[in-house]
Amino acid sequence: MTASKYILRKVFSFCTLGLLFGSTFVHAEDINVSARVSVANNKPELVSITPGYSPVVLGQNSVQSFSLQIRDIEGDSLSYTITPDYGATSPISGTITDTTKLQNAEAFINFTYLSSSDISEIGASKITITLNDGVNPVVIKEIDVYIF
């Protein structure tokens, strides 16, 4: 028997054995795989701002009230900060925990802004708002003001 024939015969034998083995011990079966796919969490939204025009124009040392309508579809507890370039606000931060109000866009951030009396701070500036639901990256919103 030549070497090539010998090898071929051996390969054929192994293949036969393999087929026999596979058909005896390996069965096709359905395998169920389950996985929990997390629903994407929506970031909080700033639905509206009152007053609704921009920039908000006011004189030095003047009081302006702002109201921000907020929605978080999942109703996640929301923390916020309010930071003016100049002047001051009250409050400067807070938390909204009412799930239902957040889901229904019935949650509001109300704050008072008192403009600066410093003459070097007149002109255009902004108030920076951050919204943080603890899941998504912080949402940033700027309110433009003009002080004369």
């Binding site: 609704g52 004189g59 900060t81 902004k126 951050t130």
Partner: protein, 342 residues
Amino acid sequence: MKMNKKVKLYIVLIIFLLTFLGGVIYNNLPSDTNLVKDVFIKNKDWDSPMKSDIPYVVGNDIELYYILDNPDTTSAEISLNELRQYIDIQKVQIGETELGLQDSFSLDIDKNTPIKITGIAKTNNNIDEHNFKELIDVKFSEITETTPVEIIPDPIDENILQETLTSTNYSLNQLSFHSNINNILIIEGNIPLEFDTVKIGEILFTPTFKDNKAYIMIPKASFVSGQYAVNIYLSHTEIIELDDKISFQYVSSELNIVNITPNLVQNSKKRDIVIQGNGFQKIISLQLNNNIILKNTSFHIINDKVMSVTIPKGLDPGEYSFNIMTTNDIIPMKSSTFSITE
């Protein structure tokens, strides 16, 4: 021919009189003053901030904000003809009211109401070539005559008047402040507020009144750490010292942390917190006081006064503060802390 002195004097007097009369006549002409005080631009395509000069190119979606100088409610005429050469105007708003797209308008404008014009740029920005302030023409044709409003004072509660006003008639919005930022102290009362001066510690302040509340701007660094009495000056001789004292916290460093929100987080997942303070543009690295260095991607400096930081999950429960690295120094911020729980 020589003019004698008398003739010269007469000529000077005549010139003076003519000039004077001319001025009087000019000032009493129907006003055609352009009311535009200032203008700002936003490039919406680039999500730019609102500034007096922002670059844009043909096709950019831009917004122009005109600040007017009208003293009170003004009947004005607005012409946009010239502006249309540079912008394809899509929307015109006065305050919250949207107007049409005609070339000119006649309407009443309240004081402090801006004009917002949205459109597509037809030219590339070149401030030297066209000043937006001059491209819109806002003139008042007549000032609306307003009948002086008779202010009818609220009926005075005689019972309160007969009582001596005391500290219990007033309340404060807040008792604790951080003196590294500007603060507002709000005084409310169960009576009409009638005072011109409030003294906090040894500093006198003049309040701004609105809706029967007194608003007092306390500039940053007015007070060092401590407690201060609040005195309301009803008159030079009648002073009420409030029962509540207010306290300030102050750090002398230019880079400082005033507030951390939220200041309580769980360690089961990573969590963003927002820090307010001053000097954040100088920060190049952050570390927690347990020597964990936060990656540069873990903090986002929003502006010089606000930043967000991602607190990693799995930290041991306890109280934490930050160590801040600037180009010059490493500054521990021990006085401003937040807590981690399980």
